[in-house]
Structure formats: structure tokens, C-alpha cells
């Protein structure tokens, strides 16, 4: 016997006006089986230690993303529930049955149109305009609120992406790019905590995307142009390591193109920078001009 007995009329009765008027015999059995299926599918989640949310934001403005995400989830969730309810009511209540006749309504009266317009405006305001407003505020106060060009506090990094690694150049003690004490690293970026970090991203070959999930930032590294992005870690991020991922398909080893982001407290960082610059000066090869890549920092 089939596990899913017929719930609908067979094709023979299709032409009758009683079409589709059968009683939903096995809907609950069906639902039961589907729930079981769902449970099996969700089993690994229950057993495993899978993370189902991003790590808490480590940047000063990352929480804005999380909050807006939750706001949108609440708004769209309610909207979707309304849709589901409006779908469920007719499905349960308005089934075809003998003698039942649908309500004859074209919905074309002025009243209907007005109602549609009002609902649209309300939905636009509640869903879209609200989110738009929050987002634009967030963008201007956070993501696009770059530190000024003459900011002493800002720490500047040039990011040069390539297949399949991240090259970082930081200006060293002298604060200038293109000098002997520039610290050049591969797949390792060390930054001070609680200071604005401004990055210039470019690429040697194909498009990459500089993605630091814990800082809630992402920016493409394009060949031929420089993109800016900035973040500032929370003070308590000091001493932690975070991950930099590549978010734009860049070829064979795209998935292996990740780097480490080390955040040091400002004191530790000052020491680190001293040593790193000293090492850089010691290993500087003035003849090797090719290795002196750097560009005028784009503020």
C-alpha cells in the first residue's frame, strides 16, 4: 500500500463540477511523515556542535549589522506569518465542496484599489522605509564614516590580494608607505585594538573580496583600482585572533585563501611595531625594487 493514499479525486471525476471536493483524508498522516523527515534532517544539528550564528561582533559598529538583521527578521517574519495566515485560511475554510460557490469579486472597485494603495504604502513604510532609514544612518555613522585623512589615530594598511594569498603592507614606525621600515606580511595582519584601521584593498590578478566576518566588513579587492574599508575593534578584542576570508570566487584555491587577523592591545602593539619595523629595516634590500610595492594611500 502506498504510504501516501490518494487525497484527491482521481482523473475520472475530473470533469465533474465536484472536482477537487474530496475530504482531506490523510493530510495529518502526511504531515506526520514529513515532520519525521524533518527531524531526521535536523538530527546532525542537534548532535553536532555546529555554530548557527556569526561570532559576536568584535568591531565597534558590527552590532549595528546584527541589530538591523534582527529588526528585518522581525519585520519580515511578521509579514510572512501574515501571508501564511492569509493562505491558510482559504485553504482550510474555502475548499471546494458540493454547492459551494466562490465569492464573485473582481477587486476592481475604487474601494479595493484604495485599499491596495493604503496597504502598499503602509508596507513600504513599515518594511522598507524603516529599514532604509536605519541602514542609511548606520552607513553614515559607521561603515562610510571613514576617519579623516589627517587622522593621527587611524592605522593604515595596504592590502594586496593575489591568487591565493593576502599581502599586507603597514607603514611601520615612520607612518609612511614605501619606506624601508614598511612591514610586509603574507596572510597575517596585526592591528592595534580600539583604533580605526583603514585599509586600501587592491589586487594583482583577479577580483578578491576582503571579508572579516567578526568585524562585519567586506570589500572587493579589484585589480586596477583601490577600494577603501575601515573598522575599529572593541577594546576587549585585544589579544584575540580573527579570520580574514576571501568572499569573491578567485579560482582554484579560493576556499584556502584565508588570513589571520591579530589584534593587540595598544601597548603590545607599540612594542610589536617597534620590533617589526626593526626587522623590516634589517631585511630591507634596496636593490630589490620589485619588492617595494606600495601606492599613495587613498584616504
Amino acid at each position: 500500500m502506498s504510504p501516501f493514499p490518494s487525497t484527491r479525486s482521481s482523473p475520472e471525476t475530473r470533469s465533474s463540477t465536484r472536482h477537487g471536493a474530496g475530504r482531506p483524508v490523510s493530510r495529518w498522516r502526511l504531515a506526520g511523515k514529513l515532520t519525521a523527515l524533518l527531524a531526521v534532517a535536523l538530527l546532525p544539528l542537534a548532535c553536532g556542535d555546529t555554530r548557527i550564528h556569526p561570532n559576536p561582533s568584535a568591531s565597534t559598529f558590527g552590532h549595528r549589522h546584527d541589530e538591523l538583521f534582527m529588526l528585518i527578521t522581525a519585520l519580515t517574519g511578521v509579514s510572512f506569518l501574515i501571508v501564511l495566515a492569509m493562505m491558510a485560511v482559504p485553504i482550510i475554510r474555502d475548499r471546494a465542496r458540493p454547492g459551494k460557490k466562490a465569492h464573485y469579486d473582481h477587486g476592481s472597485s475604487l474601494h479595493d484599489k484604495r485599499f491596495t494603495a493604503i496597504v502598499s504604502v503602509v508596507v513600504f513604510i513599515v518594511l522598507d522605509a524603516w529599514v532604509l532609514f536605519v541602514s542609511v544612518t548606520d552607513l553614515r555613522e559607521a561603515w562610510w564614516n571613514y576617519p579623516p585623512a589627517d587622522s593621527e589615530e587611524a592605522y593604515r594598511v595596504e592590502v594586496l590580494a593575489q591568487q591565493w594569498a593576502w599581502n599586507f603592507r603597514t607603514p611601520g614606525i615612520d607612518g609612511e608607505f614605501g619606506t624601508a621600515d614598511d612591514v610586509v606580511t603574507i596572510n597575517q595582519l596585526t592591528v592595534p585594538a580600539d583604533r580605526p584601521i583603514v585599509l586600501n584593498a587592491a589586487s594583482k590578478d583577479v577580483i578578491h573580496s576582503f571579508f572579516v566576518p567578526d568585524m562585519r566588513i567586506k570589500r572587493d579587492a579589484n585589480p586596477g583600482s583601490v577600494n577603501r574599508v575601515w573598522f575599529q575593534t572593541k577594546p576587549e578584542a585585544a589579544g584575540n585572533d580573527y579570520q580574514i576570508l576571501c568572499a569573491e570566487l578567485c579560482g582554484f584555491a579560493h576556499y584556502q585563501m584565508y588570513a589571520n587577523l591579530t589584534v593587540l592591545s595598544q601597548d603590545d602593539f607599540a612594542d610589536w611595531e617597534q620590533d617589526a619595523s626593526a626587522l623590516a629595516v634589517a631585511s630591507f634590500d634596496a636593490d630589490d625594487t620589485e619588492a617595494h610595492w606600495a601606492w599613495d594611500f587613498k584616504e
Binding site: V136, R140, W144, N145, Y146, P147, P148, A149, L160, Q162, Q163, W164, A165, N167, G178, V184, I186, N187, Q188, A202, K204, D205, P223, G224, S225, V226, N227, R228, G251, F252, A253, Q256, T262, L264, D268, D271, W272, D275, A278, L279, A282, S283, F284, D285, D287, D288, T289, E290, A291, H292, W293, A294, W295, D296, K298
Partner: protein, 398 residues
Amino acid sequence: MIKATLALFAATAFATLPSGAANEEEDKSALLPPVHGVSPDNPHSRPPRDVPLVIFEDTQLLAADADDGHDEEDDYAPILFERLQAQFPDRFTWNEDEEHWVDARGEYTWDDENECYWQTVTAERLTRGRQDYVQLCASCHGFDGDGYGRSGQALRPPPRDFRQGLFKFTKVDSEKLPEDDALVQLVQEGLNGTPMLPWDIHENRIRDIVVYIKSLSLPELLDEDGEIEEDATGWRDPYGQIGVMVAADDDPWAGRETEAIAAGEAYYHNYQCYNCHPGYATTARMNELGGKDPSYTYRDGITLPKVVEDSSYEVLGYAVSIIPPDFTWHSMRRGETVADVYKTIAAGVGGAGMPTWKGSVPDEEIWAISYYVRHLTDTYKDKSATRMQFMRDVKAGH
């Protein structure tokens, strides 16, 4: 409706005009400015066009460097054929009269003149290797295997030029050519701190790539008079010697790690590793460890690595400088465990200042140095406060 939309669009466009720092105009200044020190005829900028993907001819590569099976101890032939026989029983027979192995399939052939074995690699296999090379390796190492890939520019250390047959960190005696397994392992494990990734593909494909890379060695070039203009390199050179990976299975310090580290510190400074790598002790202590006169002084910047120029390896016409790692700062390329460090020290680093230490220094001492080096990395690398304290003391003592 359209009008309304456009009006709304225009309105927001003005309303959202950001001011000052928030304005990210895409003007020409956003383009990558010219970068210092790059000539327009840079070999990295060759357009990747008309890249061949198919190889039509079989090739012969040096398979083993001798010979009659009872000559020198470190000949590779006995090792190779023992492995091959285990893999393909009944395929190889020993020719008693001429004293060499005979391959029933004819893949491995004996060269009587040069006293070596050649391996014939089919065009089909080279093509597979070539195609995988193009996808995986060419972006840095270049489509011709010369190290001038588009993504390889300005990388330090530079990507290898495979035509020279020089490799680093293969864990094979740095004077010799690495055996296949060594190269396969290197490709699988990658080199820490460089874009040489641990390549995560099936071993069959890696072996194809390795064979193809070996085939990039230059055959000897003759000039117009038939004189040898350029010697054959790598696996094209009949006089090449192939080495096996250093074994690291009898750790003499097992269970005595603390002792090993202490001994290692002495050996490290005794063997003057600080000539290139940093010294990790005060002058007084280094003199004590090395048994030197208390008035003995060391090179300037002893707490920093000393850059050396690798004259055997040139990029863009000049020797590149090599930075010997500071073990409290840099990551070791292939030194995850003490045994790994031991292998690298024992084998030396081909093409760099690091010689082959095995043979010139007792094994036990190399092991001790490995323990010490690994200890330095474990204790101080990426632990800024601890390291700062340690190095400050060292610096103060010079």
C-alpha cells in the same frame, strides 16, 4: 508611475549626497597609482595568451643516478628499484652481465654511457601534469615555469624558477635533486607563510604535476659550433644525483625534552647559527655557551637575522636577498614538529645559506637544536608580551 519613480530617485540622489569623508567618488584617483620600481617590460606582465595546454612529445627524465647496485652507499637506484619492485612485482629484472635493472615495460632505461637510469614520461601524462600546472601553479610560477607568474610579482621569497631545478625545504640533502615523494609531500604540505598552499588534491594529480615540473628542467643548449652553451639542469642532467628524504625516526632525546632544549641552546650558539639567524642570548651567555673569551663580541644587530644574498637564484637579473628566520617571530616554512625541524636542518635548504648539517654535526646535536628552535617558536612566536620581555633582556645584554 515612472515619473514618480524617477522623481523619487532624483530626490534621494540629492538627499543622500554624502559629505566629506563619506563621499566615495569613483574618480580617476581611485585607480591604482603607478607603483615604484616596476619597469614596463617586467616579465610578470606578459599577457597570458596562447598558453599551450597539450604536450605532444614524450620526454626523458633522470630517474636514478647509478648504476650497478654495489657502488656508492647513497646511490638512488637501489632504493628506487626496490620500491618499484614492491609496487610492480615481476616487472623488473636484474641483468647480471651488464649489472643494471631491466624494465619489462621499457619505462625505465639504463644509460650505459652516463651510468644512470632515465624515465620515459609519456606525452599523455605530461599533458595531464601541464593542465593541472596551468590551473594550480602558473599564477605564481608562470606559464613557462620560469617563476614569472602574474601573481608572483613582488612576492618575497620569490616563486621558484623550475627550469633551474633548485628547491628549498624538500628535506632532501640540499646538494641533490629531491625524489618524487619529497616533492609530492612538499606540494601536499605547502610552505607556511607563503602563498604556496597545502594543495588539497588527489595524489595522482600531484604526481602528474611533479613529473611535469621535473620536465621543466633545461636540457643542455648547444651553440652554433655544437659546443655546450648551457649545461643541462635538474632532471635533464645525467650527472645529477637524486636524494631521499632525511629520515627522522630515532629521536635520541625522546622523553628528555627539557634537557634537549638546554643542550640545543648550547649547540645553537656553539655552531654559530647566529651568524645568520639571531642570537637568543646575551653576549655573556653566548660566550659562556660557546666557550669563548668573555671579551668576544658579535656582529651588529645580533638579535636580528642577517640578510644574505642568494647568488644562485636570481630574479629580474639580481640576486634576491634571503631572510633567515627569527624563530621567535617568523613562521617556519616546514617546521610544524621537532622532527620536521630536524629534517630541515639535517638536509639544509637548497639555494639558501643553510648548508646540509647531517654528516658534519652529530645527529644527536641536530636533534637538540631542533628541540631548541621549536621551543623558541612555541614559547615566543605570536606571544608579544612574553617575546618582548625575552628579547628585551637579550638586547640589553649586548
